[in-house]
Symmetry: C2
């Protein structure tokens, strides 16, 4: 679109994350005009709470909306993103782009053909620490950033066993595609999405499939090990064509403490931030006066990253132009890394990406 | 040898680490009978302090000793280790085995032909936390240990620029071969030295060669950037044939805080220890009573690791049998990883080790 009236937005997929988006969307300068879900109880809940129609056929929503937020399980991203794009709508697509690289590539192809655009829901980029780091990078405070240590490790945090998150056919994978996707995206974002060269890594499934899986909290209901057939940890090393590298640690479960730390290492300075706590510190040096090291702790504001992401999306829908970040090409780059780690784990070999 | 009299030991290389060994050796149940150095001032200092002869020709020492501790710069390990082994002496060889893989292989060949043995000076293995972790492994407390995060990162700790440590021809490399060797050795030790499959990694030289290298402390005298032509950091991922993996971070200098942490991750429990602080914690879980997580902090004793290493060496010399650990084959495995990381960094590709 490109007008001054508030864009008409719908939600496709009315589960937890769909609900999360809807509650924020009503705060945006946009009109929530409807939702889509194949499950009747989800539709009824949505209609009751938000006072708009919930359809079982997405085309009915497309007829009344300018744009949609797609929050279905991964396996259905392609179906709804492609049909919405084909209908000319703009799409905010929850991460990961898709459950598989092939499916992601089909979404990208549809976006290229469409009048609409597809923005990818990497909400962590909208956190204060990340935006401050990116700003410092633009000011060339770090020099050449050439190595990132990226961690998204839960000691115990397998999502509800038996939910779609732990079902390979629906999710496309486990911890790596669910939360590793954020770590990979942030790392590539800090490196300005360079050309990828080589990925080596391992995924493991050691906890979720056990009768004796010990946990204090679960994200959903636990129906036991039978509902679990995906990875619950991943470790990898990513090498870019320009020589920059990423060390990656991901886990839903691991016998080590939770670790949400990122280290951004540059030739002039570095940054550390903790994704969960929002702690942010810059590490520099100086030779003025006398040789010294500088640790700069930065107080940051806690922001609602999904809300900030939506605001960018709504602005872009109104302007009729895809935002310059969270692009579908970036989503595809992240998906290629995920796919390469799964393939590398399967084969036991590093996977080359430059020549593919 | 194999007798009840104290073994006669000599030191080859009378610099800092040679002196460090000599001061400890006089506490052992062994006789310090002499030293070797090509530099006259080093010999004079040694003779004055320890009251034994310091030779410039190693064969003169070999005539009066049962065993030697070789503490020369890396480039000369081969010369002295091989000549001592050829003379039938036992050798405690400071890490790394050699300045290059080829040189290391020649030492190994000499050891196989010799009546003596060659033990490698990986002293970190003798620290309390490491011995406690290995004991817990033998009791099968961790289940299958399948991933190690190994860090030996100094924020600023380039050794004296202009010393042999920062001279590629003499040291064979920089941070990776100097301190990375400890991290690699400990990681492989925790994994019981499995067959290696693939190594990918990068070494960088970003700080030591700069005019504006900012540092608070240096290990030796600083003669400026001209004396520096080696790596000052390395990141790598090591994959073993049995699927276990190692993530490695090494630095003499990096814009991040110092990091000496090791995480040993098993299927039943894990361990964390900080090489510098000796902090040690075991991370487990339980389902008895109720689901729970257990963090077990372990107070450890600070021990002199070089002294403990020497005690094992002296016992082995007396018994006439190589110790079952710190073996030359282990030293060679570590050297193969170092060599592979350097090659991988050079080529930008992962290096296969299984089929070599």
């Amino acid at each position: 679109m490109s007008s001054n009236r508030p864009p008409r937005l719908g939600i496709v997929g009315l589960g937890n994350i769909g609900h999360h988006h809807a509650t924020r969307l009503v705060e945006q300068d946009a009109d929530l005009v409807g939702g889509v879900d194949i499950a009747e109880p989800a539709r009824e809940r949505f209609e009751a709470e938000f006072g708009v129609t919930a359809y079982d056929d997405a085309t009915d929503l497309y007829d009344v909306a300018d744009a949609v937020i797609v929050t279905t399980p991964n396996r259905f991203h392609e179906e709804y993103a492609v049909s919405a794009l084909d209908a000319g709508l703009d799409v905010l697509l929850e991460k990961p782009l898709a459950h598989s690289l092939e499916s992601a590539e089909r979404i990208v192809a549809a976006a290229k053909e469409s009048e609409g655009f597809c923005m990818v829901g990497f909400n962590n980029r909208f956190s204060n620490p990340v935006e401050i780091i990116k700003h410092a990078q633009r000011e060339d405070r770090f020099g050449d950033v050439n190595h990132i240590e990226a961690n998204y490790v839960r000691r115990r945090g397998v999502p509800g066993r038996g939910s779609w998150f732990t079902n390979k056919e629906v999710a496309g994978g486990g911890s790596l595609i669910d939360i590793g996707v954020h770590a990979i995206d942030l790392a590539l974002y800090f490196l300005d999405f360079p050309e990828l060269a080589e990925v080596t890594g391992t995924t493991r499934s050691q906890f979720g499939g056990r009768d004796d899986y010990a946990f204090v909290e679960m994200w959903g209901n636990d129906t036991g090990p039978e509902g679990f057939n995906v990875d619950d940890s991943a470790s990898a090393f990513i090498r870019c064509a320009n020589g920059t590298t990423i060390s990656l640690e991901v886990a839903w479960a691991a016998n080590r403490p939770t670790n949400d730390e990122f280290f951004i290492r540059g030739t002039e300075a570095g940054a550390h931030f903790d994704r969960a706590s929002q702690d942010l510190t810059f590490y520099g040096t100086g030779t003025g006066g006398a040789n010294h090291l500088t640790d700069t702790d930065i107080d940051t504001r806690t922001t609602d990253t999904h809300q900030a992401e939506q605001a960018m999306f709504v602005d872009a829908v109104r302007a009729g132009e895809a935002p310059g970040r969270n692009t579908i090409d970036e989503g595809l780059a992240v998906q290629r890394v995920i796919d390469a780690i799964y393939r590398s784990s399967e084969s036991g070999n590093a996977v080359r990406l430059t020549d593919e």
